[in-house]
Structure formats: C-alpha cells, structure tokens
C-alpha cells in the first residue's frame, strides 16, 4: 500500500509499562492517541485523562422511556381501548401493570444502552479501520499492550514520536493506509439501498398482515369453522325424527319462569294482580318507550285507537273509554299477556316489568286526555 501514514504505534510487554507510556504520551501533549490492550487495564482512564463516560445518562433515559411508555400503553389498552371487567377489578388496575412495566423498562434500558453504545459511541460496525489487519492489531488482540499516536495530531512529528516511544521501551512500528481504502465510504443513503430497505419493510409488514389477518382465516387453516356439532335447524341422523333440535324434557321449567294462573280468567286477574311499580319518572319513561314501540302502531301514539296501519289491520277501540278507565291494572295486564279478540299475546315481546310500566304510562295518558278541572290548577 503506497500510502499515507496513519499512526506510529508501539507495543509494550506489561501493564506497568503501558500505564507509564500512556501517561508520558498524555504529558507530551498529544490528543489523538489511543491505547490498545487485550483487556481493560486498571487505571488506564486516569493515565489517558479520559473524561467519565456518559453512557449512564443513555440508560436512564431509556429506562424512563420504557417504563412510562409501557405503563401508558397498558393503561390505554386496559382502561380505554379494550375495557374488560376481570375478576371484578377496576379497568385501570395499575398495580397489575407493574410487572410488565418493570420488564419493558429493563428491556429498553439494556437494549438501547448497548445499541447506542455500539452505534454512536463506538461508531460500529466499522470493519475498514486502518488499524485492522495490521501486525500491531494482531499483537494487541492477544497479549501485547500498544500505544498509537495518529499522524493527524497537531503536535505530530514522526521523528519525535518515534524517539518518545523508543525511550519508553516500546517496540515501534508505523501503520499506513491507502487513500483509496480510507476514502471508501459505503453509500448508505443512495436511492437503491433505501429502496431495498423500503421494499424489505413493506414486504415483511405485508407478509405479516396477510399471514395473521387473512391466510390463517382461509382454508385449510379455518378448520375450526367446520366443527362436528349440531346447530339449530340441522338434520340429525342420530335421532329417529331427524331433528337436531330437541324438545325439553317433560316438566322442564325455563329459568326465571313464573306461571300465569289467570289464563281465561280476566276478572280474577283484575282482582288479584297488583301493580308492583310506582309511577316514577324512570318507570314512566320505560313505559312510554315500550308503548311507542309495541302498542302505538295500532292504538295510536296517545291510545285513541288511531292506527298508523291505514286499514291493513282493524283499528282497536280507544283506551280512553270509560270501560278501560274503570278497569283495575290487572285487567290491562291480562290483555297484554293473553291478547284479546284480534290482539295477540305480547308476553314474549314485553317483559313483566315492562307490562306494568306500560300500564302506568296508559294511566298517565288517560289522565292527561280526561283531565278534571282540579288537575288544571
């Protein structure tokens, strides 16, 4: 290699001599020098007058970033984006997020410290340094201790440096580099390379998306869709009647079922049934909602029998007749439950509570449309 001088190097045999040499080089005023040892030698930082490393601040920042980021993410997931009641605990059960927060803080601080140290403190990966592959490097990577003073140093004078290092007892050598070699810079930001990176990023994210969101839901990976179980309306060859759906066993009572003993006995219903609800605002609002949904299509919005069905279905009589106004609540309940004339039963659409609420709402309508003088005051 025909070439420029990179540095004058010297190797020493023992840790004592290298410490002495480093101090001497420092005291001679050189700035661009370095010491290469096969392992860290105690006291070398002081001998070279190196400032304290700032790596700890990187770790602190990374740990805070990891901890704050993780606990915010866990809180957002559990309390905002996907709230689920688990074990009766509040959505934002922050003590339960401590383990994951701790783990991510450790992960972030260790990984970021190492990556930032390697990339920004060491400027690695760099495999084209002039010192690489020199006899000097091969010695200091095994058992020798070396000093290297760069030609770029302001005080550099080849003869003086050689003399200094020789006087310290070093085995002096010189390291050269070819200009072509040192001027070679990998074109990290050339368009082709960036395009390649973008391509890899897009391919991997598209692949991941396709795999986890599409492909795994296509045959043959969707075998969980076809399960060997009977569903309603299916044919079953197991039973003689070929019905997959079965009748409940005789005497089965549905959950929450309460028998209605006044079928065909409207007068008894009127006599014995008592409205359990009070006409509070809440109850009346429920009654209004259910009345408008289920009753008003035929009975009209105010119960006057003015159907919205335009004659497609016979109009019922008004709910404001003396007869209905004179009925006890139980009679109206009976009609909603069992139906009357052409009106069908509404017991499956309207729950018991809702029926009583509707009755209270009807009473309110009746009083509003047939108000007495005293009511107006």
């Amino acid at each position: 290699m025909a070439n420029s001088l990179y540095s004058i190097v010297a190797t020493f045999e023992s840790p004592d001599t290298i410490i002495k040499a480093a101090k001497a080089v420092r005291d001679a005023g050189y700035k661009k020098f370095d010491v290469h040892t096969p392992f860290p030698v105690h006291g070398m930082d002081k001998a070279m007058s190196l400032p304290e490393t700032k790596l700890g601040f990187v770790t602190l920042a990374a740990a805070i970033l990891g901890a704050v980021g993780m606990i915010s993410f866990a809180s957002w997931v559990a309390a905002v984006d996907y709230p689920l009641v688990i074990g009766g605990k509040p959505y934002w059960s922050w003590p339960a997020f401590v383990p994951v927060t701790y783990e991510i803080a450790v992960l972030a601080s260790v990984v970021l410290t190492v990556v930032i140290m390697i990339v920004f403190f060491f400027k690695f990966p760099n495999i084209s340094h002039p010192l690489h592959d020199t006899p000097y490097m091969k010695k200091v990577s095994s058992d020798k201790f070396g000093v290297s003073i760069q030609a770029q140093d302001e005080l550099f004078n080849e003869k003086k440096v050689r003399e200094l290092l020789q006087s310290l007892g070093g085995n002096v050598d010189a390291v050269y580099y070819s200009d072509e070699f040192i001027n070679f810079k990998p074109q990290l930001f050339e368009p082709k390379f960036l395009l390649l990176l973008a391509g890899i990023a897009m391919a991997s994210s598209a692949g991941g998306y396709l795999l986890w969101n599409k492909i795994l839901f296509l045959p043959p990976y969707d075998w969980m869709m076809e399960q060997q179980k009977v569903k309603p309306q299916m044919v079953s060859n197991f039973y003689s009647d070929k019905f997959a759906m079965r009748q409940p066993v005789e005497g089965t009572v549905a959950r929450g079922y309460i028998p209605y003993p006044y079928k065909d006995k409207p007068d008894d219903a009127g006599k014995y049934l008592v409205n359990p609800l009070l006409p509070t605002k809440q109850v009346l609002e429920l009654g209004k909602k259910k009345f408008l949904t289920f009753c008003s299509p035929c009975h009209g919005n105010f119960g006057q029998g003015d159907s919205r069905l335009r004659g497609q279905f016979p109009n019922p009589p008004s709910l404001h007749s003396d007869k209905v106004r004179g009925w006890p609540d139980g009679n109206i309940y009976h009609v909603i439950t069992n139906g009357q004339n052409v009106m069908p039963s509404y017991q499956y659409q309207v729950s018991r509570e809702e029926r009583w609420a509707i009755i209270l709402y009807i009473r309110t309508l009746q009083r509003a449309l047939n108000a007495k003088e005293s009511d107006l005051q």
């Binding site: 096969p38 783990e103 450790v106 990984v111 990577s141 095994s142 986890w212």
Partner: protein, 463 residues
C-alpha cells in the same frame, strides 16, 4: 511478571499455575481449530437422536393437537408446564453467575461465566418451546401472547400473570442474549486476528463489528457491562418470581401461597447451578481446562448448591407448616396428598434428592470430589424436576370436587417433548463448545498473575 504480584489480593488464584496470555488464547481457541475428538461426535449423535425424537413429537403435536399428551381435566397443565418451569429455572444460573457474582466481585466466576450464560440462553429456548407448543396453535401465538393489532380489535390482558410471564421470559431471553454477545465481542475480535482461513476471517470480522481493543472503547464497554449486570440482577430475580405468580395468583390449594416467589427463585438457582456443574465437569475434562476452571470454582458452586438446597428445604417445611396452621381443610388435604396420595413416591424422590442428598456437601471431601459433585448435581436436577411435577400435577389431580379427581398418566409424547428438550439443550451446548470460545479470553487474561498494574491505587471503577 512473576507470580509474587498476586499477593496483594490475598485470594485464591483464579487460575492455577502461571499461564501466559498467549497460551490462554491458544488453549481456549483450540477446540475451534482442531478436528473434534471421537467423544464429541458420540455426544452429538446421542443428543441429536434425542432432538430428533423431540422433532418427531412436535411434528405429530402440530398435526394432531395437544390431545396426544396425557393432560385432561382436572390436570390441564402436565409435562408442558413442568418442563417449562424446570428449564426456566435452569436458565437462572447463567445470569446469576454473570451478573450477581460480577457485582459481588467474585472473580472465580470468570472461568465459567461465558459457559453459564450460553447455558442460560439454551435453557430459556428449551423453556419457551413448551409454552409455545402448549398454546395448541403456536402460529397464532404471536397474536394472543403479544399485544399485536389484529382485525379483531382484541388486546392482551395485562392483568393476567400469564401475560406478565410472556414479558418476563422474553425480556430475560433478550437481555441474556445481549449480555452474552457484548461479552463475546472482544473474543470474536481476537479470533478474527487469529483466523487462518478466509471463511473464519469473514465470519469473525462481521461478528466482532470491528472491535479494536481501544481503551477509548473499553471505557464505555466496562460501564455498559456494569450497567447490564445491575439491570440483570433484579431481572433474574423477577423472572422466576413472575413464573411463580402463574401459580400463586390462582386459588388452587398448594398454589395459592405468598412464599412462592422466594421459594421458586431459590429452587431456580439450585437447579441452575446443578446443571452448570454437570456440563462444566464434562467440558473441563474434555478440553483440559483444569487449570482455568479450578477445583476451587467447583467447590464454591457446591457451596451455593448447599445453601440454596437448604433454602428450598426450609421452604418445604414452611409451606407444610402454613398448610396446617391455616386451618384450611383443602390446603391440609393437598399437603397430606403430596406425601400419602397416589403420587407419594414423587415426594419421597423430592425430599431425598433436594433436601437430604445435598447435605453431603457439608463434607469437604464430597465438595472437592469430581465424581460426587457430578452425581449429586444429577440428583438435584432430578429432584427439582419432581418439585415442579408435585406442585403442578399432584396439586391439580385432586381438586375441590372428589368427583372430578383423576390420575395423570403421561403418554410417550409427553416423554418425547422432555427428551427432545434435553436433546436440543445438549446439541446446542456441544455446538457452542466447538464453534465459540467457551471461556471468556479477554476476562481470564485480565485475572491471570501479572495482568494488572502493580500499583493498584487508581483503578477506582474496575470490574
């Protein structure tokens, strides 16, 4: 430099004799450059066959599902979780040796740290596969183990200990791998400069990232190592704590216990040291590293096993006492069932392997005998496996309702996974000792006689 310089430490020398730095490089990198002995191939053949059995098992498992195992109600967690906890426990020794003993300035760790860290990585890999495969459909695991955005809009549950476990084990694996790799960088650079073939030169050049042994780098490097050790120390304690939460947070008798975290951590260190001891004794013999991994190191490992083994024994006593003292009939029944139930033999194995046999380490003759250390370490591993078997399977097989009691009978595929994991572990260990320096060259060179300056006044922040 003469050996008299070592007097200032007043410690037992870390290495025996006065090897030179160059001879250490030569000895440690020798396995990389020489054709392996016949024994290495025999070992690889055995572990490879075990691994093959494991691969066949996993293939059949993926095809058929977890029903091929012996698990069923009420023993929903069988060998899968037993093996997971067992391997995670073994993985604890490496970080303990490399991080905690580093902070405590225990120089004897130098000879075994690299090795133990590698074993940590391999053991955690073995552990992770069990969790992954016991999910049933591992290709979907990334969706429901990690907080990954899917079209379902469903997130993972951060309140669940199982989710904490995912974070803990993954963090542990990543941090251990980073720790291990950072420790390897100077050695990889040494190997780069020793390389004789182009292939090796290329590989080690890339892996060493261009390390130049510059003191301006060593300065940051040492600080980073210290920081990582500081973070890894609480991490290693947190991982098995969180694994124990998988059990302790539930309400199963025998699991619902506040003593679990320290008890699990002690057990993990116990079994981890036993496994390191086993592999260490073999490697030491095979590569003639007797002067680097000294008898003193092995004796100290035995002392730690004696300590942690007694802690585990004490935990057993405490647990049994609390079961009686709690007055909870289910808790009392579970502990009686451990000893007198149909799996009572496993409790006998547990007590003799974990509590009684390690007490032999009180005798110096046993501690300093290679054969005794090796055999006792095997017993400890067997005992610790049975500890997890008892905690998981024996607690579950007789739960609150006698009508649902059922025996757990492992199938051949349960054993296939177990044997396969041992095959994976030992195959990786064998490849590691062949292709990478199994002792840290730069670290051991820094502790041989005469490696450090004799005026030892200003090395304030050394490691």
């Amino acid at each position: 430099m003469s050996a008299t310089l070592m007097d200032y430490t007043k410690e037992v020398p870390v290495v025996e004799g006065t090897p030179t730095a160059a001879s250490l490089d030569e000895a440690i990198s020798k396995p990389l450059y020489t054709f392996p002995k016949r024994n290495w191939f025999i070992g690889l053949a055995i572990s490879g066959s075990m691994l093959l059995f494991g691969i066949i098992t996993v293939t059949w498992l993926l095809w058929k599902g977890v029903g091929i195992w012996g698990i069923n109600q009420p023993v929903e967690w069988g060998f899968d979780v037993v093996n997971f906890v067992f391997w995670v426990g073994i993985g604890h020794a490496g970080t303990l040796i490399s991080a905690i003993l580093f902070l405590l300035r225990q120089k004897w760790r130098t000879g075994i740290a690299r090795f133990a860290e590698a074993m940590t990585l391999f053991a955690v890999l073995c552990a992770v596969q069990f969790v992954l495969f016991h999910t049933g459909r591992p290709w979907l695991a990334i969706v429901y183990l990690f907080p990954y955005v899917t079209q379902h809009g469903v997130w993972v549950n951060f309140i669940s200990p199982l989710e904490w476990d995912v974070f803990a084990v993954n963090t542990y694996f990543t941090v251990s791998a980073v720790f291990w790799y950072v420790g390897l960088i100077p050695d990889l650079a040494t190997l780069r400069d020793r390389a004789t073939t182009k292939m090796r030169k290329t590989v080690f050049t890339i892996l060493s990232l261009g390390w130049r042994f510059s003191n301006r780098h060593w300065q940051h490097y040492e600080r980073a190592y210290l920081i990582m050790a500081g973070f890894a120390t609480p991490l290693v304690l947190s991982v098995h704590t969180i694994v124990s939460f998988d059990f302790a947070v539930s309400v199963i008798p025998g699991w619902h216990s506040t003593i679990f975290p320290p008890y699990f951590v002690a057990g993990a260190i116990f079994s981890g040291f036993a496994m390191v001891q086993n592999v260490l004794i073999v490697t030491r013999k095979a590569f003639n590293f007797e002067y680097l991994i000294t008898m003193d190191t092995i004796e100290k490992m035995n002392k730690i096993m004696l300590l942690t083994g007694s802690m585990v024994g004490f935990a057993y006593l405490t647990e049994s006492f609390i079961a009686w003292y709690s007055g909870n009939p289910f808790e009392q029944f579970t502990f009686l069932n451990y000893a007198l139930g149909p799996y009572g033999w496993s409790a006998a194995v547990l007590i003799s392997c974990n509590v009684l046999l390690p007490q032999l380490f009180w005798f110096k003759k046993v501690r300093t005998s290679l054969l005794a250390s090796f055999i006792l370490a095997i017993f400890v591993n067997v005992g610790m496996w049975f500890e997890r078997f008892i905690i998981i399977v024996v607690s579950l097989h007789r739960d609150y309702l006698p009508s649902s009691w059922r025996m757990f009978i492992p199938t051949v595929w349960d054993f296939g996974m177990l044997i396969g994991s041992f095959g994976l572990f030992f195959t990786l260990v064998l490849l590691f000792v062949k292709f990478l320096p199994s002792i840290s060259m730069s670290e051991i060179k820094s502790v041989i006689p005469g490696a450090q300056p004799s005026h030892h006044g200003n090395g304030a922040h050394h490691g």
